[in-house]
C-alpha cells in the first residue's frame, strides 16, 4: 500500500503524467483532421459508446483516446491523494491568525477540488447520456423525445426575428413538452438559449419551409385532343387524398426521390437524393376502379395524364419546419460546478492570498538559488 501511496504522491508521477497527457492530446489533435472518416461523428456522439462501436475498430489511429483516459484517471487519483495529504497537514496546524491567513493555505486545493469535480463530470458525460441530431418537427407536430419514454415535444410555432438592418436577428421556437396528454412544460428555444428539462437540452439546429403537399390542376377530357369537360384546382397533402369532379378521388401514394422503372415496368428509387422526384397517384372513379399514374414533381408545370384526366403540378404547399438537436449530458452540471470552483479558486489565490504574496513567498524560498551577483537591492522597482 505504501509504495502505491508514494507513487501517487510523487512529484515525478505528476510531471510524467502532465507530459503524457499533453503528448496524447497532441497526437489526437493531429489524428482527428487526418482521419475524418474515423472521427467524423465523434463530436456528435458520446465518447465511450462511440469508442466501443466505432473507435475500437481503428485502434491504430484511436489508441490515444484510451491512453488519454487512463492518464487523466491517474492524474485524478494523483490529485485526490496529494490534496487529501496536504489538507490533512494544513488542518493539523489548526486555525491561526485572521480569516485571510487561515483560509489562504486551502485556496490552491480549491482549484484541485474544482478540477477533480470537473473531471468526474467529464467522465460521466463521456460514458452516459445521448446526443440526437436531426429531429424534424413541422408546425403542430409532436415527436417522442429520444431515449425518454412518455415525453413528447410539440412545435407550436417558429418565428424569425428580423433586425432593423433587414437581417435575421434571431429565431424563437415556441414548444410544449407533454407526457402525451398533459403539458409538462411550456417554453421557447432560441439560438444560445436551449430549453432544458431534467437535464435534457433542446437546441435549434436549423429551420425553413419544406414542401408538404401539392396544388394540382386536374383537367378532364372525354377524348384525346377534345376540349376539356372541366378543370379543377385542388390542394392535397403528401400521403393525403382529395375528391374532385363527381365521385372521383385522387390519392397520393409513395414519393420517389429518384424515380426509375425497371425492365418489368415496376418503379424503384435509383438513390435517396431528389434527382428525379416523382409522386405516385391513384385515381378512383365513382365505381371504385383504380388507375395508377406517376406525376413528376421536380418543377412547377410538370404533368401526367391517365384515361382522360390530365394532372398538372400548379404549385407546392409549403410548411414551416424546425430541426432540433436533443442532448442529455448527465455530467454537465458537475463539469460546470467544478470549473466554477476552479475559477473561484484561482482568482481567490490572486485576490485573497494575494499574487504579490504568492510571488514574494516563492521568491524568498528560491532566493538561495539565485547567485548573489544577480540579486538586486533596488526594492523600489518591485511592489
Amino acid at each position: 500500500m505504501k509504495p502505491l501511496l508514494n507513487f501517487f504522491t510523487s512529484l515525478k508521477t505528476t510531471i510524467v503524467l502532465v507530459v503524457l497527457i499533453v503528448l496524447a492530446s497532441a497526437v489526437g489533435s493531429f489524428q482527428i483532421p487526418m482521419n475524418p472518416n474515423i472521427y467524423g461523428n465523434l463530436s456528435a456522439g458520446i465518447l465511450i459508446p462511440w469508442f466501443i462501436s466505432d473507435g475500437y475498430l481503428h485502434l491504430s489511429s484511436t489508441w490515444w483516446l484510451p491512453a488519454l483516459t487512463l492518464f487523466l484517471t491517474l492524474i485524478g487519483i494523483n490529485t485526490i491523494v496529494c490534496t487529501i495529504q496536504r489538507l490533512y497537514k494544513i488542518w493539523g496546524r489548526g486555525i491561526n491568525g485572521s480569516f485571510k491567513t487561515a483560509i489562504s493555505p486551502y485556496l490552491p486545493h480549491l482549484v484541485h477540488i474544482g478540477f477533480l469535480i470537473g473531471l468526474i463530470g467529464h467522465f460521466i458525460g463521456n460514458a452516459y447520456g445521448f446526443k440526437v441530431s436531426g429531429n424534424l418537427l413541422y408546425k403542430g407536430d409532436s415527436i417522442n423525445v429520444p431515449h425518454y419514454k412518455g415525453l413528447y415535444i410539440t412545435l407550436n410555432a417558429s418565428k424569425e426575428i428580423i433586425g432593423n438592418d433587414g437581417r435575421l436577428a434571431g429565431i424563437i421556437d415556441d414548444v410544449n413538452l407533454t407526457n402525451g396528454k398533459d403539458i409538462i412544460k411550456k417554453g421557447t428555444i432560441e439560438i444560445n438559449r436551449p430549453l432544458i428539462y431534467k437535464g435534457i437540452a433542446f437546441y435549434h439546429s436549423r429551420h425553413g419551409n419544406s414542401p408538404s403537399g401539392f396544388i394540382l390542376k386536374i383537367t378532364e377530357s372525354p377524348e384525346r385532343n377534345s376540349s376539356p369537360l372541366s378543370t379543377e384546382t385542388v390542394k392535397v397533402q403528401l400521403g393525403g387524398r382529395v375528391r374532385f369532379a363527381e365521385g372521383k378521388e385522387l390519392v397520393l401514394g409513395r414519393l420517389y426521390p429518384d424515380f426509375a422503372l425497371d425492365k418489368s415496368g415496376k418503379p424503384y428509387n435509383r438513390s435517396n437524393t431528389f434527382n428525379n422526384p416523382v409522386q405516385e397517384l391513384s385515381i378512383y372513379n365513382d365505381k371504385g376502379i383504380k388507375n395508377k399514374t406517376w406525376l413528376p414533381v421536380g418543377r412547377k408545370g410538370d404533368k401526367t395524364s391517365a384515361r382522360g384526366i390530365e394532372i398538372t403540378l400548379a404549385d407546392y404547399l409549403w410548411e414551416p419546419y424546425v430541426v432540433l438537436n436533443i442532448n442529455y449530458n448527465p455530467g454537465v452540471l458537475l463539469v460546470f460546478t467544478g470549473s466554477l470552483i476552479s475559477v473561484i479558486g484561482v482568482f481567490s489565490l490572486l485576490f485573497i492570498r494575494g499574487e504579490a504574496e504568492l510571488v514574494k513567498n516563492r521568491n524568498l524560498i528560491r532566493q538561495k538559488f539565485i547567485p548573489k551577483s544577480l540579486k538586486t537591492n533596488d526594492t523600489s522597482r518591485t511592489l
Binding site: 505528476t14 463530436s43 439560438i191 470549473s339 484561482v346 516563492r362 521568491n363 538586486t376
Partner: protein
Amino acid sequence: MQLYINISVWAAIFLYLFAIGIIIFFEKKERTSSWMFSVLVSAFALHSFALILRSVLTRHSPMANLYETLLFFSWAIVLSHIIVILRYKEEGLGKIVLPVAFIVLVVSNLAPKNAGPLPLALKTWWFELHVISSFAAYALYTLSFAAAVKFLTTKTGKDIHLDICQRGMLWGFALFTFAMFSGGIWGYLAWGSYWLWEPKTIWSFILWFYYGGAIHLFYTKGFNHRGLAWGSVIGFILLLFTYMGVSILMQSSHTMV
C-alpha cells in the same frame, strides 16, 4: 470607415516601430525614456481608436474573425506592456514584447477585413467573455515569455524579470481558466456541448493544462527559477501553435481565431 481604421492601424504600426527603435538604440539614455513612452502611448491611442471604429463599423466587439482577433491580441499585448512600464518602470521588455505586438499587427493587416454581421451563435456575452479573457491571457503569457527571455539572457534586473514572468503566468492562467469556463458554457448553450473533439479545443486544453502544470511544479518546488522561465518560453511556443498553427495547419471549428 475601414479606410480610417487602416490609416489608424498603419500610423500605430509606424509609431510602434519608432518606439522599438528608441528602445533598441537609446535604451540606456534616461531622456529618451519619456520620449519612448509618449510614442508608445500615442501608438496605443491610435490602435485603440482603430478598435473602437471597427466596433462601430461592425456593431459588435472586434473579435469575430482573424483580422479582428489579431488587432485585439496586439492591443492587449501593448496594454500589458504599458501596465508593466507604469508599475515596474521596466521598459527593456519592450525589446521583445513590442516586436511581437508589431508583427501581430502587421499580420492582421494581411488578413481579410470582411465586416459582416455577427453569426447568431456568437451573439452572446459568453462569447465575448470567452474571447476577451482568452486574448488577455495570451497577452499575459506573451509578457511572461518576454520577461522569461530577459531573465535567461541578461544579468541585471533578474528579480523584476522573474517577478513579471511569474505574475504574467499566474494572471494568464487565471484568465485562461475563466476563458475555458466561459467557452464551455457558451459551447453548451450554442451547440449542446462544452467540449468538441477538434484541434483548437484540444490545444486550448493542452495550453491550459501545460500552464497549470508548470505553475503547479513551480509551487511544489519541482521547478527552480530557470525552470519556470524555460516553462514560460515553451508555453509561448505552445500558445503560438494553439493560436496560429492550429488555424493554419488544421481544420477547426474556431475558424475565426
